[in-house]
């Protein structure tokens, strides 16, 4: 019984945290699955989302979650422009070119954040972000629950969008065969820009919830990019459900690893699991 009560809290926290990781990874997975680009700057765009929440909170006194009304369309437009103006030209040359551009973008963003917000660690501290939720033997910060609920909502919305709308089906069609998509009247350059925009809009959402959950600095993007890569490796590319399960698996590995081997080892445990999965089942745990 005590073993169970000891395990219950880290297990629940791992699952809830997995929701946040899944939303961060979703944008990366969407761009890779559709446009076939590895967006190295995705973590930095997530951090931009966190900083937008930070500005809303500290400058205007607006709740960071509410600031998404501005943050989501703003990051959508940035992502749309990145693909349309930079990457659409580059990937006609080669895939490596897009990788290098994204890498450059990542460095530019990190330095920009240092200039504007200094290298200091920031966090989104609201009235509710320090509250805890207790049920029986389980107790965890309330923002973890928000992370998870938002993950579910975002994933259901994305799934319905990709299934039901013309643009959503066009995105899936262009991902499968862009030449055939052209013959269906689909402007693939525009569809790719929309895809990138949707992925950065997701970064805006995950950024705010990341900021509510963890402190962040101008260079935090890299750590979350690596977590997102881990999630994608675990879940397999190209499926929303896979990304979700990958996120939860990663979150569980982290919190249970911390429980058994100490907090210092929690990321070591998670990454070791990613490496083992990559070596043994490179198509991911949950890919068909």
């Amino acid at each position: 019984m005590t073993v169970f009560t000891d395990l219950a809290t880290p297990a629940v926290m791992g699952i809830l945290l997995g929701g946040l990781y899944a939303v961060i990874a979703l944008g990366l997975s969407l761009i890779f699955g559709v446009v076939k680009e590895m967006n190295i700057a995705h973590g930095d765009l997530v951090i931009l989302g966190a900083y937008i929440g930070y500005v809303a909170l500290t400058v205007f006194g607006i709740d960071p979650i509410l600031s998404l009304i501005v943050g989501v369309p703003f990051l959508f437009m940035i992502g749309f422009a990145i693909q349309k103006l930079l990457l659409n030209r580059a990937f006609k040359i080669s895939m490596d070119a897009t990788l290098i551009i994204a890498f450059g973008l990542s460095i530019i963003l990190q330095n920009l954040y240092q200039l504007i917000w200094s290298p200091m660690s920031r966090g989104l501290t609201t009235s509710y972000s320090l509250n805890s939720f207790t049920a029986g033997c389980v107790s965890f910060p309330i923002v973890y629950l928000l992370d998870f609920i938002v993950a579910i909502v975002v994933m259901l919305l994305l799934r319905e969008f990709l299934r039901r709308t013309y643009l959503g089906i066009a995105i899936r069609a262009a991902a499968q065969d862009w030449r055939a998509a052209h013959l269906k009247g689909i402007n693939t350059g525009r569809v790719f820009a929309f895809t990138f925009g949707i992925a950065t809009a997701l970064a805006a959402v995950s950024g705010v919830f990341l900021g509510l959950t963890f402190p962040f600095t101008p260079v935090s993007g890299i750590s979350f990019l690596i977590i997102a890569l881990g999630v994608v490796v675990l879940g397999g590319l190209g499926s929303i459900a896979g990304t979700f399960i990958g996120g939860i698996t990663f979150g569980l590995a982290q919190t249970l690893g911390g429980h058994f081997f100490g907090v210092a080892a929690q990321m070591l445990v998670a990454y070791t699991m990613v490496l083992v999965v990559l070596a043994v089942i490179p198509q991911g745990l949950f890919n068909r």
């Binding site: 013309y166 089906i169 499968q176 052209h182 013959l183 269906k184 009247g185």
Partner: protein
């Protein structure tokens, strides 16, 4: 209206990099016609269709559809104007459902509002697609996939439909059925250009034909006349 062609391809030269694949090609197709382009593998048939739909742009020459010059247009704009190509290999999306493959056919602005009407027509031509609505396209048989490809092209509400090697790899019975549907489609006012390797069959299904050899048109005319032409007899019927 003789001389008022729907599609006018004038003196086009097309290259893949530095390799020239079409040499001074000119073809005309009138509204309501069914025209065949015949040639062996590598004769440039697919390149010709790809040049018409904007997938490759010609280095010289012009392409006029209706009263618009479309030579340098992007493929997605050409679809909007009313040309739909069923490419070699069918060009359907294996991981979309049958319904989604048809719906995406009506992606262009003009066709979206006509989607329900066109979907009904496609289900009329190919009832089997209605029954397999929610199946993934990759689970269909070869013949059904070709039906889906033609159906999806019809969903774009085309004035002209270009079919590339429609009968490739299909059983003769299925091919018969497809040709029957082509006749129906044509009777509803859609112009058809199709590319084939099978000369005998093609010369019975089309009204006019162009014969391509190594990127050049070597013969053209009404199919009755072509059947009598010595060169065709020798080259394709072995007589």
């Amino acid at each position: 209206m003789p001389g008022e062609a729907l599609l006018k391809v004038r003196n086009i030269d097309t290259f893949y990099g530095s390799l020239q694949v079409l040499w001074d090609i000119s073809i005309e197709v009138e509204a309501g016609e069914i025209v065949a382009i015949i040639g062996a593998n590598g004769s440039g048939k697919s390149s010709l269709l790809n040049t018409i739909t904007g997938m490759i742009h010609p280095a010289r020459g012009s392409i006029v559809f209706g009263d618009r010059e479309i030579t340098a247009w992007d493929p997605f704009r050409i679809v909007d104007l009313g040309i739909s190509q069923v490419p070699e290999g069918r060009g359907i999306f294996p991981d979309l459902s049958v319904y989604e493959n048809l719906k995406i056919g009506s992606y262009n602005r003009r066709a979206r509002s006509l989607m329900d009407r066109n979907l009904e027509a496609v289900h009329g031509y190919f009832p089997i697609l209605a029954g397999r609505k929610n199946q993934l396209a990759k689970t269909l048989s070869g013949g059904e996939q070709q039906m889906l490809a033609i159906g999806s092209a019809l969903m774009s509400d085309p004035k002209l439909i270009l079919l590339d090697e429609m009968s490739l790899g299909l059983a003769p019975l299925v091919v018969n059925e497809l040709y029957k549907v082509l006749k129906e489609i044509r009777s509803r006012g859609i112009t058809i250009v199709f590319v084939e390797q099978n000369v005998r069959r093609t010369l019975t299904e089309a009204e006019r034909a162009y014969i391509l050899e190594t990127g050049r048109i070597v013969l053209s005319g009404k199919v009755e006349d072509l059947r009598e032409e010595e060169k065709v007899k020798k080259a394709y019927f072995g007589a």
